[in-house]
Amino acid sequence: MEVYYYLILSAVLLSIGIYGIVSKRNVIRMLLSAEVIFNAALLSLLSLASLDSGYGPVGGALAVIAISLSAAEVGVIVSLAILMFRMRGTLDTYELRRFRG
């Protein structure tokens, strides 16, 4: 039953990530919080997959697919952050509103 410990850890990581996304304003910090949630998801995916010998390899394959595809998302967000830093000189999402008419 030690899989429950992993599930509890994953729930804790989920809470940490949601707290980070709600409370932080920096683009990179928000991205890192979302990545913490993503890794919590992978942890619970793999720990649940380890329970069943038939589903185990399938769960592992799902995890590998998810990891490789999330790299694309991170790439796009980091390039947006670079663009934002060039245009505004800051990474603070609240600063974006200042120029609104």
Binding site: L14, S44, L51, V76, L83, L96
Partner: protein
């Protein structure tokens, strides 16, 4: 049927990957025309799938009439967006990438509508999501930067929650096929419900369901209206498709929690969207809030999926509501981008007298807004009152009542726009011209909204069920 899907991948994927290269090598802009041709071909290929039912690619995809119908609507929407973009995106330095991304994300939308396996779900979701962040920010100016950063941050959160939901749900059912979801051990219901909650949050982020809506007014209200028409008209279908494929099989095992959760979200979403739209002065932001309200109407139909007796009606309601929504949103946002190109300011005061100088475009815009409002005999009336609200009558009559009240509230702002467009003196003499593609897009969407409402609803229901 596998050949048709392979042909679709070839028709959309090859130009999607090659267009920026071709334009770079030739030094000319042929990409819009290639894209128009590709979407038209895809439309023709999809018509061969109408009414077919099959599981293909060893269980990775499953075809059914409703999904084929939704893909047809998505393709029609993309075709209209590309048609309208001909004069608008001409001067953008990044326009070949725009067309390439439109084709690739359309392909992703097909896969999400036909998905039957968790790995396809994750992969297609990532394809559409990444493409949509770039589409929103493709102009690289200050407004689209803000919209794109917000969209991307909320999007990556939504993808993470999707993986979390998939992990919990498939950990319970021990398989990666979506059709295995129905066989759940009864003692695992709570885990399944938790997974479903995470998935609802992930899909709610994309649909703009309250309380996951915070990004939507800034993105739909701040980005270029042409790009918004694609994001709101076509990309939004992915969350509806995923709802139907992933959450539909587990509604029965979850039980009553489903009705409570989704009905509550639906009530919040409808009230928030409609009330917040009432106080907007910028028409584009107002239409962004109206998108939130429309997501609430979709959730009414999703609530009705719970009872097996009303499930068929609810599925038809979703199909028809998607028709209304895509035609109206694509038409309205393209109409707004047309007005912006003609030099109008997109505030209520700026649109004074538009209906008097640009007679056809103005009347088509008014028809589309009346359709969203639910006025007979337009398609919006049939989809909203005769299908969506009727489908939930057995299960939760109070939800139908709330929906009707909200339709009443929404008259306030749609009619306000129409009033400013018609009952005020025109500020300048901008004239519409028969050479503008946006004019034809407005004409097609407005006429389709009218003609379909005038008696073709029965035929549509036959196609999609």
């Amino acid at each position: 049927m596998e050949e048709v899907i392979l042909a679709l991948i070839f028709v959309l994927g090859t130009p999607g990957l090659l267009l920026p290269l071709i334009d770079y090598l030739r030094g000319t802009r042929i990409s819009p025309y290639v894209t128009l041709l590709a979407t038209a071909l895809a439309l023709a290929l999809l018509t061969t799938l109408i009414g077919r039912e099959a599981t293909i690619f060893s269980g990775a995809l499953r075809l059914d009439p409703l999904s084929t119908y939704l893909s047809l609507i998505a393709t029609l929407g993309s075709f209209l967006v590309v048609l309208a973009s001909l004069p608008q995106a001409k001067d953008w330095s990044t326009s070949p990438s725009l067309y390439s991304l439109i084709l690739l994300s359309l392909l992703g939308v097909y896969f999400l509508l036909y998905v039957n396996d968790a790995s396809v779900l994750i992969a297609a979701w990532a394809l559409v999501a990444v493409a949509s962040y770039v589409i929103v920010g493709i102009r690289k100016d200050e407004d689209s930067l803000e919209a794109s950063v917000k969209y991307a941050l909320m999007g990556v959160l939504s993808s993470s929650l999707l993986v979390f939901g998939v992990a919990l749900m498939f950990g319970v059912t021990k398989g990666s096929s979506l059709s295995s979801l129905e066989h759940v051990p009864p003692n695992m219901r709570m885990v399944l419900f938790l997974g479903a909650l995470l998935l609802i949050a992930a899909l709610g982020f994309k649909m703009g369901v309250v309380p996951f809506h915070a990004w939507l007014p800034d993105v739909y209200g701040g980005a270029h209206p042409l790009l918004v028409s694609f994001v709101s008209g076509v990309i939004k279908l992915i969350s509806i498709g995923a709802f139907l494929r992933v959450l539909l099989p587990i509604i029965q095992p979850i039980g009553d929690y489903w009705v409570i959760t989704v009905a509550l979200l639906s009530t919040l979403t409808m009230f928030y969207g409609n009330l917040a739209a009432l106080v907007q002065r910028n028409v584009q932001r107002m239409m962004a809030y109206s998108s939130i309200a429309q997501a609430g109407y979709f959730l009414v139909a999703f609530t009705a999926l719970y009872s097996l007796t009303s499930r068929e009606l609810a599925l038809q309601a979703i199909g028809l509501q998607v028709t209304t929504y895509v035609l109206a949103k694509v038409g309205i946002f393209i109409g707004l981008s047309y007005l912006a190109r003609m030099g109008f300011d997109l505030t209520l005061e700026g649109l004074k007298g538009v209906g008097r100088t640009m007679k056809v475009s103005g009347s088509m815009l008014a028809i589309l807004m009346f359709s969203l409002m639910g006025m007979p005999p337009l398609i919006g009336f049939w989809s909203k009152f005769m299908y969506v609200f009727l489908s939930v009558m057995d299960l939760a009559p109070w939800l139908a009542l709330i929906g009707v009240v909200n339709s009443g509230i929404s008259v306030g702002y749609y009619a306000l726009v129409v009033r400013y467009m018609y009952f005020a003196n025109p500020p300048n003499g901008a004239r519409e011209s028969l050479r503008d593609p946006e004019f034809y897009v407005l004409l097609i969407t407005g006429l389709l909204t009218t003609v379909l409402g005038l008696g073709l609803v029965d035929q549509l229901v036959k196609i999609l069920s």
